[in-house]
Structure formats: structure tokens, C-alpha cells
Amino acid sequence: ADDVARYALGLGDDALVLAQRLGSWIAAAPELEEDVALGNIALDTLGHARSLLTYAGSAWDQTEDDLAYFRDEPDFRCRQIFERPNGDFACTIARQLVVSAYFTALYRALTGSADPTLAAIAAKAVKEVDYHLDHATLWTLRLALGTEESRRRTVAGFDAVWPFVDELFADDPAADAVPAAAVAPAGLREPFDALLLPVLDRVELPVPAVAAVRGGGRLGVHSEALGPLLAEMQVLARRHPGAVW
């Protein structure tokens, strides 16, 4: 159970940090429909985080909030792509297209997990991330084929996120430890490519020719953006340790 929990923790941290980023768009989106849409996506993603962290915490007698609010940066296990700042709307959409394709591939595979809780979480999540992928795809079309400015920003958005793509498929010791329960990250590259590349192709965006970062989020190595994110997320809970809200 401890090994499965460690695996669930990594997945939960990915979703939690992304939800925190997406939450910043609410009340600041380019149009009301997007306040609603990004709010929905943030809420779904936070829901995945809560299920996964609650499950992980159950192995260690900890709540989702113990894990979300009372761990320090090196104890987080999120991959670095989820830490990327929102940037402009095109940056956010580029990140969303990538991570939604990844989540779709992941949760589809995870529905076959030998761990029934993970399988059940994945079964619920897979429908939601499918919608997230549609949303990001539609906006990629609009932005890449809209105006000169929107295309320029879209190219910049994909250039900015692409160095963090490879890490999604890098080894995860927690996954290796529970091969029947977990999905091996390397195996997700193919379905990910199959979901994502046709979208780029359709709008004639070349795959960015940028070098990948070293990564290491699953080992606690985080881009410098995570510290300030956690400072804000955890400030109130830590001011009142032990309090119930």
C-alpha cells in the first residue's frame, strides 16, 4: 500500500499544482465563457488531485490537506511541466494541450490498473480530461489559425512548454515499484504523440526544436517556480496549524 501511495502521490501532485495554476485564470480570462471553461477544468483537475491525495494519504494516516499544505517543496513529486507559470492565454493553452493529451493517455491506461481505487479514479477522470483535450484543441485551432499575433503567441507558447514534455515520460521509481498498479511512463509517449501531433499538424505548427530540460520532478527536483506557488497556496493553512476549516 505504501508503494502504491507513493505512486498516487506523484499523480496527485501533478494535478494539484496544475489546478492551482488554472485557478488564477478565474475572473481574469479573455471572455466570460472562458472564466467558466477554465474554472471547470481547474475544478475537475482539483478533483483528481483530491482523490489521488486522499488515497495516497490513507496509507500514511494523512489527509489530503496534510499532504497539500504541510509538505515542503522537496517533498512534492509533481513533474515540472505542471509548475510552469500561466503566461499569456496562448501559453496556458499550449500547456493545456500537452497536459490534457498526457492525462488522457495516462488515465485511459490507468483504468486497467490492478489497483481498484486507481482504476476507479482513472475511469472517472478519463471522461473529464477528454473534454479538457477538446477544449485545448479548439483553442489551439483558433489561436494558431486566428490572427498573426495569435499565431506568433501560440508558437511562443509551445516553444516555452516543449522543453518540459520529455519529463512526462521519464522513469518514475514509484511507478516501477508497483508495475501492476501503475502505468509505465515510457509507454505513454506513443498514445500521447497520437493524440497531440495531429493537432499540431492540422495547424501546421512544427514540433518545437528545443532542448529538453533535465527534469526530475518525481525525485523532488523542481523548477524555481514551485516555491512561490507553494508560499501562496499554503500560507493560511500554515498560519493555523491543526485548525479545521
Binding site: 494539484l16 489546478a19 492551482q20 485557478g23 488564477s24 478565474i26 475572473a27 481574469a28 480570462a29 479573455p30 471572455e31 466570460l32 465563457e33 472562458e34 472564466d35 467558466v36 474554472g39 471547470n40 481547474a42 475544478l43 482539483l46 478533483g47 488531485a49 483530491r50 491525495l53 489530503e64 490537506d65 497539500a68 499544505y69 499569456d88 492565454f89 496562448a90 485551432l141 483558433r142 489561436l143 489559425l145 486566428g146 490572427t147 499575433e149 495569435s150 503567441r153 501562496e232 497556496m233 500560507v235 493560511l236 493553512a237 493555523h240 491543526g242 485548525a243 479545521v244 476549516w245
Partner: protein, 311 residues
């Protein structure tokens, strides 16, 4: 005028006016003003709570808050759509908001510096909004009444969540209790002022009531609200900062102290705590999103064109 007589007859019979029906220009104008103000209030009202999403102290509260703020965006959308049936576009209404010409509820020009404000806003501000809005579900203009039915359902949900936030704080540590009381102290009077000036000084109210847009006077609604929240405050264990607040056996209502209407008018004039913040943030989101909306428009046109060519 025959059309006016038909309109008056519909109103008298408590029937609904629909977009295709004839209506007096003043009725249309009053409705556009009220509905767009209401929509703007939803949109601006996202800000004080939106500012706490990143810092919500538990994941459950974060999820509830996200959902609530997102609901408010949804309410804004319904209301703009309903108002558009009167012939004014959303862009026109938003331009009026962004330029400072249109009003929104003054309550959102107060600051929300404390987590407990998420409770007070839900309990008191949404509570007052509901007291205002429930009668609007029977508003004579059909699309408005129907939008309000949907909105009121969600608002009472929000009010309950606000109450729960305060209840959790009042059941918590001394610091949490102090946080809740301090917040209620700040929101009590502004919430009461949400019903508008006293009946004698409310110029638009009488006509609105005659048209059955509005069903109760400002002071009636305010009294109803005070009577509702006093027992709730007792359950919570918070007090209200009003030494004159007491049950009046004779009236069968609570008496309460005079409100500071100078303060109300100052906020209305733009000199509240947050007027400048709210409008600046709204305008920034709109301005920064201009290229996105432009791209979506260009893409839609391009797609429409290629579909026309293909067909």
C-alpha cells in the same frame, strides 16, 4: 394606445412579457438597466472571492470557492443573454461597465482581506441578494424571471456554503472565531445597504413595482433580511455591530439602527475601498484578452468561409 393597453392588461393579469411582445420604451430601458447591472454585479463579484482561490485553507474549500466563482461567471452569462433579448448586445453592456458608466452592486467595492470574508460574503451578501432576487423570479419580463429561477437556486447553495465557512470558524480556535467576528462586523451594515436607500429616497422603485419588475420595497426587503439573519447569527454565535438591534414584540420584527447613508453614497460615487481595484482588474482582463477574442473571431470567419466554399 392599443398596444399599451394590451401590455397593461398582461401586467395586471400577472402574465409574462416576452421578447417579441410590444413594451413601453421606459419599461425596456428600466429592464436593460436593472438586468445589466445585475449581470455586471455577478462579474465584478467574482473578484473579492477569486482573490482567495489560491490561498483557500483546505482543498475542499478551494473546490467550493472555485465552483462558486465559476457559477458567478455563469450567472453573468445568463443575465447578459436575457438582457440581449431586449436588443442591447453584451459588448455594449460590457463597454458601459468598463468605461465606468454602468453601475454594479456597491457591495463589491468593499475589500475582502480575510478568509472569513468568504463566509460573510456567502452568508450576508448572497443572503441579501437572494432576498432581493427571489421576488424577481416572478418579474414580469419572462427571460429575466426565468434566469432568476436558475440563479436563485444556486445562490441559496452559496449562502449555505458561506454559513458553513463561518460555522467552521466559530467552532474552531480562538483566532478563527475572532477572524469570523471581525469579518461579520465589517459586512453587516454594507449588506443591509444592498437593498438600496430608504423607500422615501428611492426614485426608481415605485415605477418598477408598478411594472411588477420589483415586488417589494427596499425597506420591506431589508426588514425581512434582518429578521432572517438575526436567528442565524445566534446559531453561529456571532454578534452584529448594531447596539439598536432588538426584537420588537409589537411590530413582530427586529428594530435596527440607522444606517450610514453618506457612506453608501460615497461608495456609489466611486470613493469606496475597492472601486478603483475592481474596475482596473476587469478592464485589464478585458484588454489583455482582446487579441484572444480577435483570434476567435478571425477563426470563426475563416471557418464559415471555407464551409460556404465547401458546400
Amino acid at each position: 394606445d392599443e398596444r399599451l393597453a394590451a401590455f397593461d392588461a398582461l401586467i395586471a393579469a400577472d402574465q409574462r412579457i416576452e421578447p417579441t411582445d410590444w413594451m413601453p420604451p421606459a419599461y425596456r430601458k428600466a429592464l436593460v438597466r436593472q438586468m445589466s447591472q445585475h449581470a455586471h454585479s455577478e462579474i465584478i463579484g467574482m473578484q473579492p472571492e477569486g482573490n482567495w482561490i489560491t490561498r483557500a485553507p483546505s482543498l475542499k474549500r478551494k473546490a467550493i470557492l472555485m465552483a462558486k466563482v465559476q457559477d458567478e461567471a455563469g450567472h453573468g452569462l445568463y443575465l447578459y443573454s436575457a438582457a440581449e433579448t431586449l436588443g442591447t448586445t453584451r459588448d455594449e453592456m460590457l463597454d458601459a461597465l468598463h468605461s465606468g458608466k454602468a453601475k454594479y452592486s456597491s457591495i463589491f467595492n468593499y475589500l475582502a482581506p480575510s478568509w472569513a470574508d468568504m463566509g460573510s460574503i456567502g452568508w450576508l451578501v448572497d443572503g441579501a441578494a437572494i432576498a432581493n432576487q427571489v421576488p424577481l423570479c416572478r418579474a414580469s419580463y419572462g427571460p429575466y424571471g426565468r434566469a432568476m429561477v436558475r440563479i436563485c437556486k444556486e445562490e441559496s447553495f452559496h449562502q449555505r456554503q458561506g454559513f458553513e465557512i463561518l460555522l467552521a470558524l466559530m467552532n474552531g480556535t480562538d483566532e478563527q472565531r475572532a477572524m469570523a467576528q471581525e469579518s461579520v462586523n465589517r459586512w453587516y451594515a454594507p449588506a443591509l445597504m444592498m437593498f438600496g436607500p430608504p423607500d422615501g429616497e428611492s426614485p426608481n422603485s415605485r415605477q418598477s413595482m408598478a411594472w411588477k419588475i420589483k415586488r417589494f420595497s427596499n425597506d420591506e426587503l431589508r426588514q425581512r433580511f434582518v429578521d432572517m439573519i438575526v436567528p442565524q447569527a445566534e446559531i453561529l454565535g456571532v454578534t452584529f455591530p448594531d447596539p439598536d438591534l432588538r426584537w420588537n414584540e409589537e411590530r413582530g420584527h427586529h428594530d435596527f439602527g440607522e444606517l450610514d447613508w453618506d457612506e453608501f453614497h460615497a461608495v456609489l460615487r466611486g470613493n469606496g475601498q475597492a472601486n478603483a481595484l475592481r474596475l482596473a482588474k476587469r478592464n485589464a482582463a478585458h484588454a489583455e484578452g482582446a487579441w484572444v477574442r480577435e483570434a476567435a473571431r478571425a477563426y470563426a470567419e475563416r471557418t464559415a468561409t471555407s464551409e460556404r466554399i465547401a458546400s
